[in-house]
Subunit: 345 residues, 2 copies
DNA sequence: ATGAAAGCGCTAACAC
DNA sequence: GTGTTAGCGCTTTCAT
């Protein structure tokens, strides 16, 4: 390679890295030789000497939940645009898997890891934080000081959903949560209770059902709600997959959505608009989420990144009204039902 | 590290790699030191010296199509079990993206690449094949000799769908294909025509509609079919997302599935069973696909892998009958409609 | 069985 | 401005 261009390997290195001091003529020779041989610089060797791999780890809980692929795609685009590659891992909520994944990422010398799942051992996190290893938690951070967090504004998002339902005239709302041992489902449920409280509405305990953030969970939870003597007129769900499950469960009964029961989701995955009926939901812009995660990582990795000191990124949410919500039955003439459509994304 | 155990770095290396000749006492000291320091061997350095990165590339066309996450998960599990890590890339059907992705993977020194998308430049593929770079094409391989291919048995899968519909009494079947510039959608469409031919059934050209393998495409294609004066009584779709779109389009009309029109998908993604009605589809076991892809890659990478000479892996399909297919209207008493349920996965 | 030493492909400090 | 050289962290001869 160097011989072929008749220069030293150092010059090749400089040419490849666009160091301006290289003689134009030599640079041309080098590039020509590179073309001819089809030379690609070896990233491993570069990483070895520079101490930086330009690899980012991305840990999600379940790659088969459609929300994550959307997020992964955004994350990857942004990372690649900055010259990073992404190693993705899916934990399936299994702590052992999470642990081994984390270790594998560290062995691969990733420059930083974005964690979008619960259950990374606190002990390990502490060690990493002490070593100042760049770590960003999205929505699932442990309660440790000095950690970078990306926090979707659940409180406000859930509030938007509840307010929408209340505005339509609903008073009896149920909430299907995610798995309650996790942090972010907890936050969402608390936000629901708080939002109801703000409106002076009470929530009987049987209107709080635990789901699993999957369709199966949504179905089971909805079925449980349907056994109650006092049915809610609206159901708010902790994520879209749960809401899709709820729609499915309702479809198998005589209850109609939105005429008998309104359903609201959370996330606004692509699929939501194709549900029957199209799902009213709270959008959590995964582009913003991904952007914050990448920026947080870069802030930790690149020594003089402008946001180096920033610890927290808040991600706003907004309501997307489609056709799964309407006035509660009886509150208005039938022909107005379903007219709750304000804005269709 | 070596000092800490009071041995040479060579001994540490041997201990870490479980070379049997290491003195048990020394090995113990080494492992103890490793524990204490929390030492992790640096994969980059290992890769540099061994010439193998234990990284696999996986190129898919669209990570947001639910079929792919399912496949990715399987692939990743299998790869990790063999001590590999996976770099995933999504091309979004963009040839430029595909090209740059391929280059990035090569720069990262991946040991092999599984390609599950169309549009990798033939020129590049040829070069790689000449260099004997391990490459496996899943369902989208170019027509070059000496390439490893994983081929789902589209011909048989589509045939299973068509036979099922024919057995129910359908004679007028339409087919919504994928994007026809790609190889695998083409194969599926041809399989459809052949299967119909076998049954002595003809397909009017307006019953062959091109979709995009997305819900949007399925909706548009179904809407187009619905403008025909002679409606088909059944629609076979090139993948599940298309079928889901078709269901959606039908739902917005007065036509009912399966009473007026039967719909069959292809892939059997997780979502399929949660559709309204649950989708009858042809399963392409993504576990088998992933397993074949990983095996194909290993056959190319590991010098004396038993399957080194194997070039082609066929993946069988099988029919999963749910509730989106039934006897065509009028062919049987109404109370028997929907009774086409044979096997519910 | 173990240690010393070479070298994987590259970057960066130093000399010219 | 360019070449020479050390060394990133490891594996692997080659001596011992």
């Amino acid at each position: 390679m160097a011989q072929r261009a008749g220069v030293s390997i150092a010059t090749v290195s400089r040419a490849v890295n666009n160091i301006p001091t290289v003689n134009a003529e030599l640079a041309r020779r080098v590039w020509k030789a590179i073309e001819e041989v089809g030379y690609l610089p070896n990233t491993q060797a570069r990483a070895l000497v520079s101490g930086r791999s330009r690899l980012l780890g991305l840990i999600v809980s379940e790659i088969t939940n459609p929300f994550f692929p959307e997020l992964i795609q955004e994350f990857e685009n942004l990372a690649v645009a900055q010259g990073y590659e992404v190693l993705i891992g899916s934990t399936n909520y299994d702590p052992a898997r999470t642990e081994s994944l984390m270790r594998r990422l560290l062995q691969r010398n990733v420059d930083g890891v974005a964690v979008m799942t619960f259950g990374v051992e606190e002990e390990l996190v502490k060690q990493l934080v002490e070593r100042e290893f760049p770590l960003v938690f999205v929505d699932a951070g442990p309660d440790l000081p000095n950690i970078r967090l990306v926090q979707p504004d659940y409180a406000e998002g859930i509030r938007q959903g509840v307010q929408h339902l209340a505005a339509l005239g609903h008073r009896h709302m149920a909430f299907i949560s995610g798995p309650m041992q996790q942090r972010s489902p907890k936050a969402r449920r608390e936000a629901f209770l708080k939002s109801m409280c703000e409106l002076g509405l009470t929530v009987p305990p049987e209107h709080l059902v635990e789901g699993t953030h999957t369709m199966e969970g949504g179905i089971a939870a909805m079925e449980q709600l349907l056994t109650l003597s006092e049915l809610p007129t609206a159901v708010m769900c902790s994520n879209d997959m749960t809401a899709i499950g709820a729609l499915h469960a309702l479809y198998r009964t005589t209850h109609r959505v939105p005429d008998d029961i309104s359903v609201v989701g959370f996330d606004d995955i692509h699929l939501a608009q194709f549900m029957l009926p199209p799902l009213t939901t709270v959008q959590m812009a995964c582009h913003d989420l991904a952007a914050a995660a990448v920026e947080g990582l870069r802030a930790g990795i690149e020594p003089d990144h402008p946001k180096h000191a920033k610890r927290e990124w808040r991600i706003p949410t907004h309501l997307v009204v489609r056709q799964s919500t309407a006035f509660p039955r009886g509150s208005l003439p039938a022909q107005l039902s379903g007219a709750g459509t304000i804005h269709n994304a």
